[in-house]
Amino acid sequence: MKKQLIPGCVLLALSLVITLGSISFLSPCVHEDGSFGACHWAGRSCMGIGAVLGILAVMALLLRRGRRGVYLSALPACLLGILTPGTLISLCRMSSMRCRAVMQPALIILFAASALAAAAGAVCAKES
Amino acid sequence: MRMIAENVSRTFFRKTGEANYFFAVHPVTLELDEGSVTVLTGRSGSGKTTLLNLLSGLLPPTEGRVLLGDTDLYALPDSALSLLRSEKIGVIPQGRSAVDTRTVRENILLPALLYGKKPPEEEADRWMEELGIASLRDARPKELSGGELRRMAIARALSAGPEVLFADEPTGDLDDVNTARVLEIFRAFAHEKSKAVFIVTHDSEAVKIADRTLRMDAGTVL
């Protein structure tokens, strides 16, 4: 029983890092004139996806039935997260910029790790 | 297959009086015939287990030699002796002899697995049944009592189908019913399958199934 909770806890922790990270230590570059570029909105979008993942993780931990379905629904959210910075929403032109050097790789790794955790959760979940 | 020990002795280094070694086993010559049960008794510390180890190929003698058929055990290199022991000599040791990471059944099949041979599954199941531990086949050794562990070791030694079976205090942890059952199994194993059985024991019950009884005192077989 306890082992079954591990993927949910990992997913919750990762989603917290994504949500809080995309507005703090992973946040994209700030323009000198204070305006926002597309990368800023890419970060915000990832924050939203991270929050959704967090809610799914809490549901997976609390629900007694349908756990596998919750984990499976986290997978497309992770895919969306992976595609958001750079593919769906463009980032700065220069790869030395913070959004490309820090935000994009870190978020892709975090979303990929979340996808693995969700997949593990789906495999481990025993439907009672 | 017949086993012969010729003038086998064993000394250990230990300061005793003027000498700096002592005889654990004084030179002894004895034969273990196929189809017979030999029982060795004696006080604690008289050298029974050392003699059993010498005969079973586990402890090289200081002098003398041990022959299984025509093969001089201790003339063989370690790898050949080990293979021969795994195929022809079964040992039930005095202490705990289970590998904790494996189940009871896996422990019983281990000798064959060591050499990548086909494990004697039917034999193992049959002996577990006969020794009353069939229900424990998937249990881990840590879940077993001393008596159950002892029976597991006996099932393991018998499943490998040895030519000579050595048992060191095999009934030490067993109740009367199981003691009788095990001794009967040993007797039948020797007589019906024509194997040599050598038992070291304090148990007077064991003497009853013996074809020959030996007594040991201060390293000397009387």
Binding site: R100, A106 | L59, D78, S79, S82, D100, L114, G116
Partner: protein, 400 residues
């Protein structure tokens, strides 16, 4: 004895022990692989800077030295804007020993499209240039045309894409290979395009000290010294002849960089060595502890007919497998930290940084895994020796 299957089973049955041993080797390989990739990247970055500069001496206005460090342009791509008279090129060519002189004009762009930083636009004279042209011609046969630009590898723009610089549309016709230096963030164009961009900047009211009308204004002259000529002498001759111009010897600049690189390399090597010593000591201790813990198990196996050699092989196989597992995990973790974040590492180090090729990285990764498993197996060897000497007779004596 057939020990491989048993070794694998032993590892699976004792997951805690397996993970602990693997973690140690993972730590080792993380340090080795990560550290080596960083050091190699720094070395190839320096080599690339040397070959990309291609010039022996660079002439810049004296003010450039104080305003923005000239070195920063090459290392961090910091945009620079300083200017001098174009006649410097001809004057330089008159100095004995000078073989080639190529002028360049720098222009710091406004925000390019979405980017919040300025991009360094570098104007080159295709007739005289010998520093950038060879790199451009690799991907562009006909050279740079009007309103065409070549972009450094770190400017994310595909071929044929339009970049807006000062509201002028520039077509990307070449993408340069990575150099690991600040030159990767620059955009190159010919002098005609540069003039048009300057006009545009003027229209926007950007106060560049250069005006589009001043046709003869350049930012730097790259000098190639004739074979056999003494660079030092040419350097002094240039400084003597040209006023308000500083001659920077690229060699001295590169020596400075290579000194800091040597410092970083030394630190990284020291760290790797430290991690190794620690990990090997811990690994040895752990194996010694394990050999004590497993003495009983091995006595049983000896009793059941296992040979000394077979048992030794079993321990070696187990420890080598732990090494492979840990080595692969550590290498993968290091790769996960280094490759996606290479841009960040480059910025933090402020040194030329160019990742080695895929082949080198693959070989390095394989080597690291092999090394980790060899070290693990060597530590396991000690345990194997102790364990294979177990005397089953006495070990299995005494209470059940």
């Amino acid at each position: 004895m057939k020990t491989f299957a048993l070794s694998v089973q032993n590892l699976i049955r004792k997951p805690g022990r397996t993970v602990a041993l693997s973690l140690l080797t993972a730590f080792l390989s993380l340090a080795v692989f990560g550290g080596t990739v960083v050091v190699l990247s720094l070395r190839s970055g320096l080599q690339s800077l040397e070959s990309r500069l291609g010039a022996d001496i660079i002439l810049v206005p004296s003010e450039a030295q104080s305003k923005v460090s000239f070195k920063d342009l090459f290392l961090q791509g910091t945009a620079g804007a300083w200017y001098m008279d174009a006649s410097v090129t001809e004057k330089a060519l008159e100095v004995p020993g000078v073989e080639k002189a190529a002028p360049q004009t720098f222009l710091a762009s406004l925000k390019a499209d979405c980017c919040s930083v300025k991009i360094q636009v570098i104007g080159i004279d295709p007739q005289l240039d010998f520093t950038v042209q060879p790199w451009i011609s690799r991907s562009l046969k006909n050279g740079l045309g009007d309103m065409e630009i070549a972009v450094g590898c770190k400017v994310e723009a595909g071929m044929g894409e339009i970049l807006r610089i000062y509201d002028r549309q520039c077509k990307v016709t070449a993408c340069l290979e990575p150099t690991g230096t600040g030159l990767d963030t620059a955009v190159y164009c010919n002098m005609d395009t540069m003039r048009k961009l300057l006009e545009a900047a003027e229209e926007k009211g950007i106060n560049h000290k250069i005006k589009s009308g001043d046709e003869d204004i350049i930012s730097a002259v790259y000098i190639k010294v004739r074979d056999g000529a003494d660079i030092g002498q040419v350097n002094s001759a240039l400084t003597g002849k040209l006023r308000k111009v500083t001659a920077v010897r690229t060699r001295s600049m590169i020596t400075g960089i290579s000194d800091s690189l040597a410092g970083v390399s030394r630190t990284v090597t020291l760290l790797i060595a430290l991690v190794w010593v620690l990990a090997v000591v811990i690994l040895l201790l752990v194996f010694l502890m394990i050999s004590r813990e497993r003495a009983g198990e091995f006595a049983v196996l000896r009793l059941l007919g296992a040979s000394r050699q077979g048992l030794g092989r079993m321990v070696l196989t187990e420890s080598a497998l732990c090494g492979v597992l840990g080595g692969a995990a550590g290498t993968a973790l290091a790769a996960l930290c280094i490759f996606p974040f290479s841009a960040l590492i480059e910025q933090q180090l402020s040194l030329p940084y160019l990742l080695p090729g895929a082949g080198t990285i693959l070989a390095l990764a394989l080597g690291t895994v092999l090394l980790a498993s060899a070290v693990s197996a060597a530590a396991g060897f000690l345990a194997a020796r102790r364990l294979s000497r177990v005397d089953p007779g006495s070990a299995l004596r005494g209470g059940t």
